[in-house]
């Protein structure tokens, strides 16, 4: 398991060196979007309209932050469960999106898209939102403000700690980790 510091936008060269289980400290711009925003983005694509941001090389963070207190860029901001974005992620990956940040399992289709188009799914720790959110240095709503916590935000993050879950070789950290520790619990 290696450790890397990466800055967005990501390139194919960044992605191909990553293996499931590696730790990445991510810096730069990441965009937030979850269920409602993805539905609107895919609808925009269907209607031949522009996305609120160019996904090429970008990382989308699946998060709906809590409101910011005065003087803070953001509230708590941990990852939401990623499988709900299974229907949308492969399409955005095919348009050049390089990464997703979330928690929990994603589908075989997403895994295949990561292999085909060189992308990664990064897992973060759900429910550690005050700590995870502290990596966010700036935040600005750039689309769908009426969605409240689900609006699309442009974040600037600094050294956000992430685990490579799906790499571009078809590996899955959750499956690997589970296999390694299965059967080892004892009450001793």
């Amino acid at each position: 398991m290696a450790e890397y510091k990466l800055t967005t936008p990501l390139t194919d060269d960044d992605i191909i060196k990553l293996k499931a289980g590696d730790v990445v400290y991510l810096s730069g711009v990441v965009y937030t979007a979850r269920d409602a925003a993805h539905m609107r983005m895919v609808k925009a694509l269907d209607e031949g309209k522009e996305l609120p941001f160019d996904v090429k090389g970008q990382v989308i963070y699946y998060v709906g932050p809590s409101p910011a207190r005065p003087g803070k860029p953001i509230g708590s901001a941990g990852p939401t469960t990623a499988y709900r974005m299974n229907p949308f992620a492969p399409r955005l990956i095919s348009l050049g999106q390089k990464g997703m940040i979330g928690k929990g399992k994603m589908s075989e289709e997403v895994k295949q898209a990561c292999m085909k188009y060189k992308a990664c799914y990064f897992a973060s720790i759900g429910g550690a939102a005050a700590v995870v959110g502290s990596a966010v240095k700036e935040a600005e709503i750039i689309a769908y403000p009426e969605l409240g916590p689900e609006a699309v935000r442009k974040l600037v993050v600094e050294d956000m700690p992430l685990f490579v879950c799906f790499d571009s070789y078809g590996n899955d950290l959750y499956e690997m980790a589970k296999k390694e520790w299965a059967g080892k619990f004892s009450l001793a």
Partner: protein, 282 residues
């Protein structure tokens, strides 16, 4: 005849307001204790790291009044109302909702309630979900549960066959929790409701997640089932945050009620490692 006791709904509103804020920032002691005990037993270095991050999160949240999780949940309220209580100064449920709305606004908590079909966010986290039970006496017990969507989505009611019995129930719960894997933010607390009917199984399962973590059921048959499920789930390898390890669940809590001779209802409700709940008696 017992004397009727007047309880002002303004006191209920205030209690709800305080519990909502407390729950959002401060993890219950029993949950943190269970996580610390699990940390001592944990052998996976990654799992230890995850648990350390969780502890750090609990500290930062508490100190800076940052929500433990950005998903500050829907407000689920279990109300046990003594039958000699008379509520005054307004309608009880309105007061509960006012307490929730004010807390989520003043506390910078996320508003997560929306229209199920259009997904329009109502912006006030209302309505609260209120389960009311009438009990003997003249007190009002209020349990406040901030229930996040990630763990709630990993829940189900299954109408089992009576022939499935004890072992079928255990297998179904174990398979379900392992299959949920990293999604509900392990280490989790597994709430199980056996019997009653369709909706009682679900309500029991959720209520069970609010028991003091790891405290066994007073019924020795259920306590033994809880232990068996606990060991099997922790043998799955899923681990904290699903990143592998020996700590997948902190506790398994079962509640049971009689059911129809033709049915065996089973409810499973999962609480994440940020199992935020408070209670008060008025």
């Amino acid at each position: 005849m017992a004397e009727v006791r007047n309880v002002s709904v303004k006191d209920v509103e205030e209690a709800i307001y305080k519990m909502a804020l407390e729950a959002a920032y401060h993890l219950p002691e029993d949950v943190l204790d269970a996580e610390k005990k699990a940390y001592e037993k944990e052998r996976s270095p990654v799992a230890k790291k995850v648990l350390e991050t969780i502890f750090q999160n609990v500290e930062v949240s508490s100190k800076e009044e940052f929500p433990l999780c950005q998903d500050t949940g829907l407000a689920v309220i279990f109300l046990e109302v003594g039958q000699d209580v008379h509520f005054v100064d307004g309608y009880l449920v309105d007061a509960i909702n006012r307490g929730v709305e004010r807390a989520y606004k003043d506390g910078y908590l996320r508003k997560s309630s929306c229209n199920p079909l259009t997904r329009e966010n109502y912006g006030n986290n209302l309505p609260a979900i209120v389960h009311t039970f009438v009990v003997p006496g003249d007190k009002v017990k209020i349990i406040f549960d901030a229930k996040g969507g990630g763990s709630e989505s990993m829940s189900k009611v299954q109408m089992m066959k009576p022939a499935d019995g004890r072992d079928g129930i255990i297998q179904t719960v174990v398979d379900w929790v392992i299959q949920a894997g990293p999604n509900p933010c392990p280490p989790v607390i597994v709430g199980v409701g056996i019997g009653g009917d369709f909706e009682r199984a679900a309500v029991m399962a959720k209520h069970a997640t609010l028991r003091k973590v790891g405290e066994p059921s007073p019924d020795p048959v259920l306590a033994e089932m809880e232990q068996e499920i606990y060991e099997k789930v922790n043998n799955s390898g899923v681990g904290p945050a699903g990143l592998g390890g020996l700590t997948t669940c902190l506790g398994v809590h079962i509640e049971m009620e009689p059911c129809h001779i033709a049915t065996l209802p089973l409810g499973i409700n999962i609480a994440c490692h940020v199992n935020r709940h408070k209670e008060i008696v008025l």
